[in-house]
Symmetry: C2
Subunit: 609 residues, 2 copies
């Protein structure tokens, strides 16, 4: 790199600092000092190294940049402003209502792939992007900028381990080691050796540099992709770096400068500041664009009524069937693929499957990363183990990610393994995610049909599968629109709403009650969110405005709350049957009975009304 380039990059770095300070001072909040520490790295990446088409931030072969330390958002916005994507005048709208320049980055902005700000999540998403690039035979690199404080997050090490295992040499982590956390110094301060050893032991090539030395930064970036390991760059920096009275000082985390302080800082920076506007950057190479288009249809299914098939088995079958028609479909699992039946897909399409081992946060992050690259990612594990990735899933809501989660082994009906393996809170968790769709099929046909919609529609979907075998009760042509519900039995006393194993308990109860001259309506609530409100309300109005919900889930936040939350305003009485205590090991039938969600419990409840 020639001298003039280095001076230019130094100047741009200072321009980014000025923008960051101005924006946060205008906003009256934000993290200018966390921007300043990383300004030299970002300037070098954006104007001296990365290959991208700024006019098309979504270009399939642009290098990707994830600001994992999302609180440095003003720095990111400044870089894209100098790259010509964001009007410079907009930068001071930071954090105001209506501006897409939010306090932490979100994909409302075209150059942001995933929301960041909940720390430690960027590297896992980067793994997914890097794997997708490899699958699509593209040569883009994925750069993830992390703070030193966030390295304490376990999610970072799940990602680091996976990247090492799969030798993702198209993934680069840059650690902005500015020494200072929010409430105190980090545990390791400027001991870059600690971070270096850790990344090395996780299978990475490591470079330690002065993160304020453009020459050094540019030089190590030349080494990207030269061997078969992911690259970690430990950049020793100063919080507030570049501004004499901020640099390396305590108590400046998350604080904007007042107007006088800002003026003073800018007076220091301005003389050497240079604009990046018009500076030419390398274009992405012209490799063929991957075919990420949806198929017009999927092959038909052929189940026989009455056949006993667990919905988790149907998931495995559906994934293969849909994957054959739709090249966008990829899958991943957390060392449970023989139980979730994702193994079927793995055997058929080994290149499109990623074993993520026992690391569920990263399992979800990898899926999100694939989703940002035009893939349709299906991640599976025991439903309750997705709880480990609850925060990744929450943030996926903010990212409006394309993410398909399939969780097996739900409720007390798994039996002997005991409560640690039983998903009893997953519906509550998944319902509470912004924009999520929550599905809970009861038979193989419903499972297959719902999975087709999950593949075809963009968004965050969770499908709950069950461990026990259940009979096929629907014909192969039955449709299961998201947001619907099925009336499977009609009566006049009360409407019983179930899903999964409890639907079959409700049907048993209906048979028994019928023999005693009592008619009940039974509804299959295969769509928990959005709920089949219309169908349930219609049925309830014909059954004394009374509904009983039955669910293999705790009483809070699941099917019962969903139905009550939607129907009580309509004057419907909703009685909830749910797992009414802390479960324990036992046979499924014993547990369904003991915890009050079997046919006998339903019969008893119906008779009590």
């Amino acid at each position: 790199m020639i001298e003039t380039d280095i001076e230019l990059l130094k100047g741009i770095a200072n321009q980014l600092r000025i923008h960051s300070i101005n924006a946060t001072t205008a906003a009256g909040s934000g993290h200018p000092t966390s921007c300043c520490s990383a300004a030299d790295v970002v300037a070098t990446l954006f104007f001296g190294h990365m290959k991208y088409d700024a006019k098309n931030p979504h270009h399939y072969n642009n290098d990707r940049f994830i600001l994992s330390k999302g609180h440095a958002a003003p720095l990111l916005y400044a870089a894209w402003a100098e790259a010509g994507v964001v009007p410079v005048a907009d930068l001071t709208k930071l954090r105001t209502f209506g501006s897409d320049l939010e306090g932490h980055p979100t994909p409302r902005l075209p150059f942001v792939d995933v929301a960041t700000g909940s720390l430690g999540q960027g590297l896992g998403v980067g793994c997914g992007m890097a794997l997708a690039g490899r699958l699509d035979k593209l040569d883009y690199n994925t750069y993830v900028l992390l703070g030193d404080g966030e390295i304490a997050e376990g999610a970072v090490w799940e990602a680091a381990s996976l990247a090492g295992i799969y030798k993702l040499n198209n993934l680069i982590a840059i650690i902005d080691d500015n020494r200072l956390g929010q409430s105190q110094a980090t545990a390791f301060g400027h001991d870059t050796n600690v971070y270096a050893k850790r990344f090395e032991s996780f299978g990475w090539r490591v470079e330690v540099i002065d993160g304020h030395d453009i020459e050094e930064i540019a030089e190590v970036l030349q080494g990207v992709g030269l061997d078969d390991k992911p690259l970690a760059i430990i950049a020793k920096t100063y919080k507030g770096g570049g501004v004499s009275f901020l640099q390396d000082k305590d108590n400046w985390h998350g604080k904007p400068l007042n107007k006088e302080e800002a003026a003073k800082a800018i007076a220091e920076l301005q003389p050497s500041a240079k604009s990046g506007i018009g500076v030419s950057v390398q274009a992405p190479s012209s490799l063929p664009e991957p075919k990420n288009t949806a198929p017009s249809s999927y092959p038909a299914i052929s189940y026989k009524l009455g056949d006993l098939i667990a919905t988790r088995e149907a998931y495995g079958a559906a994934l293969v069937r849909i994957g054959e028609a739709d090249p966008r479909v990829v899958a991943m699992d957390g060392d449970t693929k023989n139980s979730t039946y994702a193994e079927k897909f793995f055997k058929k399409f080994p290149d499109r499957f990623t074993e993520c081992f026992i690391a569920e946060q990263n399992l979800v992050a990898v899926a999100i990363g694939f989703g940002t690259r035009g893939k349709v990612p299906f991640a599976s594990t025991f439903a309750t183990f997705f709880t480990r990735a609850a925060d990744q899933i929450r943030v996926a809501g903010i990212s409006t990610a394309n993410l398909k989660l399939v969780g097996s082994h739900v409720g007390v009906s798994i039996g002997e393994d005991g409560p640690s393996q039983m998903a009893l809170e997953d519906l509550a968790l998944m319902r509470s995610v912004a924009g999520s769709v929550v599905l809970y099929p009861s038979d193989a046909v419903a499972t297959e049909k719902l999975l087709e919609q999950m593949a075809a529609k963009r968004g965050i979907f969770f499908l709950r599968t069950s461990r026990p075998k259940t009979p096929v009760i629907y014909g192969n042509d039955e449709q299961f629109p998201v947001g619907g519900a099925k009336v499977v039995r009609q009566g006049d006393k009360v409407t019983v709403v179930g899903a999964g194993v409890t639907l079959f308990e409700a049907l048993k109860a209906a048979d028994q009650l019928k023999s005693e001259g009592i008619g009940i309506t039974v509804i299959d609530a295969y769509s928990i969110k959005p709920l089949g409100k219309k169908e349930i309300l219609e049925a309830a109005k014909k059954t004394n405005n009374t509904v009983i919900t039955v669910e293999d889930h705790y009483p809070e936040g699941g099917l019962g709350d969903a139905v009550a939350g939607e129907l009580s305003a309509e004057g419907i009485k909703v009685h909830k049957l749910a797992v009414n205590g802390l479960p324990r090991s036992g046979q499924p039938t014993e547990l369904l009975s003991h915890f009050g969600i079997d046919a006998a419990a339903i019969v008893k409840k119906v008779k009590s009304l």
Copy 2:
């Protein structure tokens, strides 16, 4: 260690294998091969190394043992049977309904401190126990047995990092490196060097041993506590180790032997098997028992009506006040202590505070560990970051842990930082935890009074604090029983239920409506779970059986669902106002208005009814 001891331990290990095989064969499910790999380590720990009083598994100075690889439960039960705690005849009741010998260990058993089975959680709890031992000046050690597969979990590395930082040389991790996961081999197989380097880089002393060689195991255990680092023992083992036709074979994960196979295995093991019953073990040393008794009362509070105090500030004040009276109280935070106000406690009682850095899974695990040792642990961070520890909290429910979580910065009312920092799903998540209590105070007095109860009562509590300052509306003598609610305004048209910032919006709405001649009842639902059902129902019956809930939370699983779920069966109509879309940055007032939960939205809703 003399020859006869080694032969005895070898014999006991085989006896543990026999028990594990018999129990799983009787149960028809379980993980015998995962027991066999660790049998030599467990035999040596229990009968040749650990100090404990088997007659009193809860003894304050017993060495602690956590089976983080909880699926090897039969091995744990076998060890305690040979130690004389579990009747040997009970072992074959494994996994049956009514037996406390569940599929994965739970604290129904006196020698189990925490439920395991959701992998990767044991080491963090071990950190808490080790820190508690140090605080109490006890010399017990904490041994955590992990599988090699679970090392992929980020939670393990959060714990490893903390143990290294705090030089917990009373914490010992033993990695049962048996090479085989559930669905395939682990990524690193028998490459013990990978694990060794990782633990070393995280600040641990590491020993690599043959995990089937009793002599080696016993020898490295002699080195416990000899330096100032935690000790990781990487034990190379074979899944199914000790049984010729199981050892190191694929496809034996989680499979019991059939009767013939079991007989064949036992025929191999029996000749050298020896009983541990009657073998003497070292007693715990007789250091003074820590005083972990509750105080009879707490000092009084003195707030002034109308004073503006954020509930998060009141948390900091309460923690100091309660901590002064109650020596059991300890606190921990994830580098947010200046925002959550836990810093006040840290400054007052630095020895009783643990900075856990940005690692929320471990923050919660450390708290759980302290809780098992008679402490009352208060863990704080932004409420939404507890989502990162959702699985630890879920499993805490199974552990019936003593755990106090205090989450700040909730809802859109935090404003400019944007959605990644806003807790909008925390009520759903916390309500869904078995046995949890969920509290949401609106002013400083309520906060202080609820915190007193959290300290005094055993169990899992979550208290939601707010960022904005709110006026003190209750007198210092007001009581806030868990499970109650306060009627703060009375009218006849409708009952509006709020909490936190929305309570104040409801009060504003009441004022405006009153000026228009419309009276509403306003209820402060400070106890979300258990809900103040009685108070709300009573009020609703006087207001046309109609309730409006208003919450700074998504519509799913929070206050609205809680009220609807409890009251709809009583014929009450519940209308929900909640954050009705994906939030963004902005001023709190703008966001409350835009997302439909401010006074104007309440007025509009009331008038629409």
